[in-house]
Subunit: 484 residues, 2 copies
Amino acid sequence: MFNKEVYIRRRKTLMEKMAATAPEGKRGLALFIGNVEAPAQYKDNAYKFRQDSSWIYFFGLQEPRYAAVLDLDSGEEKVYADDVDMDDIVWMGPQPSVAEIAAGFGVSRTASYGALDADLARAAAGGRRIHFLPPSRYYNTMKLASLLGYTYEEVAKVAPGEGKHASMELVKAVISMRLVKEDIEIAEMDKAGAIGQKQHSVARDAIRTGIIEQSIVGLMDGVTLAEGWGVSFPTILTQHGETLHNHLHDKIIEPGRLMVIDAGAENNEGYASDFTRTYPTSGKFTAKQRDVYQIVADCNELAFEMTRPGVTYYSVHKAMEHLMLSRLKDLGIIIGDADEAAELGVAGLFMPHGLGHNIGLDVHDMEDLGEDLVGYDDDQKRSPLLGLGNLRMARKLVPGNFISDEPGIYFIPALIAQWKAAGTDKGHVNYGLLEKEYLDFGGIRLEDDVLVTADGARRTGPCRLPIQPDDVEEAMARANALRR
Amino acid sequence: MFNKEVYIRRRKTLMEKMAATAPEGKRGLALFIGNVEAPAQYKDNAYKFRQDSSWIYFFGLQEPRYAAVLDLDSGEEKVYADDVDMDDIVWMGPQPSVAEIAAGFGVSRTASYGALDADLARAAAGGRRIHFLPPSRYYNTMKLASLLGYTYEEVAKVAPGEGKHASMELVKAVISMRLVKEDIEIAEMDKAGAIGQKQHSVARDAIRTGIIEQSIVGLMDGVTLAEGWGVSFPTILTQHGETLHNHLHDKIIEPGRLMVIDAGAENNEGYASDFTRTYPTSGKFTAKQRDVYQIVADCNELAFEMTRPGVTYYSVHKAMEHLMLSRLKDLGIIIGDADEAAELGVAGLFMPHGLGHNIGLDVHDMEDLGEDLVGYDDDQKRSPLLGLGNLRMARKLVPGNFISDEPGIYFIPALIAQWKAAGTDKGHVNYGLLEKEYLDFGGIRLEDDVLVTADGARRTGPCRLPIQPDDVEEAMARANALRR
């Protein structure tokens, strides 16, 4: 947790932003519901507690079953939570009071968790608007619906103005703050990056044929738990990189495959990292693997070079697509004019996802506040094309943005067959070559986390994970030699 | 997953048991709602998926968003889940159909997940009773309430007969089956035990002063993820063992303390283990630590020796309390007749928890089906005393029961002060000695998992974790020598 002044300042800024949305006396309340424990097997056997990210941002405290109300008219702040009893002390040790805890993030008024119901009912009876963020968890959905008398569907939807919905005004104010990282946050992001790089280094050093994938995932997850909160998302480790989000790790590592490892760590303050590397399972790339790998590495580098304030990430994605297709043309996979193919959206066949996303307290930062509100400027909109249309971060970059740079090339048999049948590529794809040579290739993705600085960008973490194919092979050979 | 015959047989047995609860034509349906993904940070960023334990028991499948209905009158079985589309194939790879998956656990009729609403509405309109188990997760609570038109509170409560509540009849039938482990389950329990013992061995070998507790927890969790599903409950690792459930690991390991490690693993099939050991942080017990430690080790051994079919675990707990107090009398902590003190419940001051609980697919097996229904025979009831009253498993033991044997002695300053002020011990406690010598002692707990066999009991796992104080010190010295 940061110093309490940080949270006091952030809440003050939030209230100032919300003041612009309505005249004084008409602004209402901003309600924040922190997370409760999430049962895994049974109610009292919970997953490792993870606080709601916006709660962490404005209150810092990583304890379950807290709520808070900010009065946007009077500026009054109040926290709702329950003190412990003797039974709790026996099981959990002596605990500070809620009043002491709330003072630690700068709130002086407290009440019991149950008092929230009456306070909100009184506010609603007085005709006051109650702003809230869309809930991420089922408990929060139930709690909001029950507190406010709305349905699950109503509280999940974000809309402006009075209504039974999550507050567009509050969502936009929160996004405007969380999207630009403060210096103290950047330091935390670098710590999360350091853990993520260690997590990846341990994995790279452990790859060898004949072992089960899960054994490597366990090592990686262990690093994130030893040094931080845990993984920032379920680790992707697969010899079928063409499957973008594979969470099964039950395969034996086979020789000659490409292994995609997409994984990141959250540090103890809740900040995320997210890296992807792709390794030859035998320690050496084949010539064909190396050709495609080098394209992805060069796309990653191009995107990083273009990343600077004032540039839209939409344009960076597009430039990366042009490079990718012109290089796939060199391999004979693209036919005709590569730029024309790029404008037609042919890159989506090989890379059906976007170049990157915001990262912060969430690895897809603020995804539940609305992907378009987070990732797009008011004058931008989503492309209908596969790939570009999945771009989560399109905005004009400003210093303090933290984004992923993650191009990939995948050969997805089902998608190739679909495009071929539908003629989606308008004659730009050499299906004969794909079918002859690439259907069992798999996929490659290479991802770094990038901070937009005042005059450019820098990658996160203490040192970059090896990415050039020679460097990757050398690192794997070194680990292999040590293992003997 | 086991062979499909296992699940077919179990469901058949369940339907036979339910047939005894009502005449044919009046039995109704048994509804099972599997778990869905549990969001951690945002909706699409979920914790590692854990299926509902009763779902695992009757259907085996560890995939989210499945439901099933067993018709207790016709014997018809139907599974509800959604097939994947092209988008899913791109992100998750080619997937078998729901029909193929359901055939894998022996169900031939399938429908979409959404079809469940109409099927249940039709059954309800036809006046058929719908039996269901009490939900463990918020989603399942919401889903049941919404499917059946009941409130959260109604679906959470277990009651017999017609009503808006979870079905006591179904709960009892499920408990009667899950409480007695089949041979194939015992093999899985041993695997979970092996992982748990490795998890503990890694921890014991890593203990040294000056490092942060979290670094050991990460190693332990990593083992459980590399070899199984993960931890069977959040790891307890604390230098304040007197705090029974401490989940913070932010302390530096100090010399001269006792470190309680209570942790277990779940194997990939979902079966749990649960062990506790207590280590001297400096590698050697002090004389005072060793005295108390030996009492706990002897209590653990006594309980194991008494564990056999026909004996109630309630009586084992009581016998253990008598031994504990007579030995605490030898140390001067108990005054007067130790047996009389035991009958007054004085052991609860030093051990405010029960001797053990059932273990299976849940580490506190079936806790959400109702602790008394699971742990107590019809003619038994809970003691009002602290300690014995917290005993989760009191039943007369039968072969196939899997229970924990986990005595402990703790010196809890707040509880000691409370008892002293209230005179709860009726003159049997030497508070002067406790206050002079034991308020900073901490706590000790020693736990094994025990299978009740045909003629006695055996401990789980391939080999027992060192428990006698000399053996513990020797193991720690060996690890320390290797580290140099």
